[in-house]
Symmetry: C2
Subunit: 190 residues, 2 copies
């Protein structure tokens, strides 16, 4: 029997604060350099409480990186605008909180992070991509190409912080990158 979802625990606020601090720490430091101690200090609690609530560092990361991209239904917008909509959405999502940066930083050096990214692409991006792809057999490859450009842009701008990628405005980035994503999604296969 599962726990009734209507039974809030008194510790829910603390648990949420731990997750938020964990996302910030993983996003800023990566998996290895982020520490239970630092996360606990940011929340103002004892490190042992983090262990009590989440069991281990890896389970804490799993909980902190569980996210819904809230991708728009690409079938409901004009076909020639899907690239622009998708790039704009990801830029907003990346700047909105630390989940995606945490996923990227952790995914590069920790297996659990890479698996989380695989899962998010497969369960959230692939379904919306299917709505606009000309050939169902191409969907995984097209989704992978879109992912490569979106992740590469985020890497350059938010993680490696290449000066030109940081200085470009949101509008400039969309104007340059949206046609790439548009082509990966809807152009005839080369």
């Amino acid at each position: 029997m599962t726990q009734a979802p209507s039974a809030p625990r008194r510790s829910d606020a603390t648990r949420a604060a731990i997750l938020q601090a964990a996302r910030e720490s993983f996003a800023a430091e990566g998996y290895e350099r982020a520490t239970i101690r630092t996360i606990a200090r940011a929340v103002g609690i004892d490190p042992s409480m983090v262990m009590r609530y989440y069991g281990s560092k890896e389970r804490l990361f799993i909980a902190a990186s569980d996210t819904d991209l809230h991708l728009p239904d690409l079938g409901a917008i004009p076909a020639q605008e899907v690239g622009e909509v998708l790039v704009a959405h990801f830029l907003d999502r990346w700047e909105g909180d630390d989940v995606l940066t945490a996923l990227l930083r952790v995914g590069v050096t920790h297996q659990a992070g890479a698996e989380r990214m695989h899962e998010i692409v497969r369960r959230q991006l692939v379904p919306v991509v299917t709505a606009v792809c000309p050939d169902p057999a191409d969907v995984p490859r097209r989704a992978a190409l879109v992912t490569s450009q979106i992740l590469g842009l985020a890497l350059a701008r938010f993680v490696l912080r290449f000066p030109p990628a940081v200085e470009m405005t949101r509008e400039e980035l969309i104007a340059w990158v949206a046609p790439t994503v548009q082509r990966y999604l809807t152009a005839a296969a080369p």
Copy 2:
């Protein structure tokens, strides 16, 4: 007075073996999980020898990540082929050894790695990009866009190992991605 470059030390072979093992270790594990002990064991020497030769873990990384991309002179090839040539060159370069994977894995979590990548883009990619860009003022932005797509592709294929990105052939990848790089380099600014 600098040391004569014609004076090979007896330890040069060992030093080279250390650098190679370091590249493999940094590429496979990232900066934090790569250890002096593991690198030394791969070479068959004592860990203290690594410290004696390179002084510290960070200086070892700096030495191991010093690389020449050997980028082709884009001014010497047909203008409409620069995208294809560049993508093919980077794919070959990425599969040729472990330097670029090491740089990418380390750059995401360690400052020295990110700075090395900045330096390589600025000193090696920007100059060859300049030869084909229509407007000199756009060169840094265009180089950053090319970098975002190249790094994103390498991230998906060689680091995160998304199944579709791994399974696509070299020719498929070039056919899809070369037009992106071509546009970033030579198309009119949007």
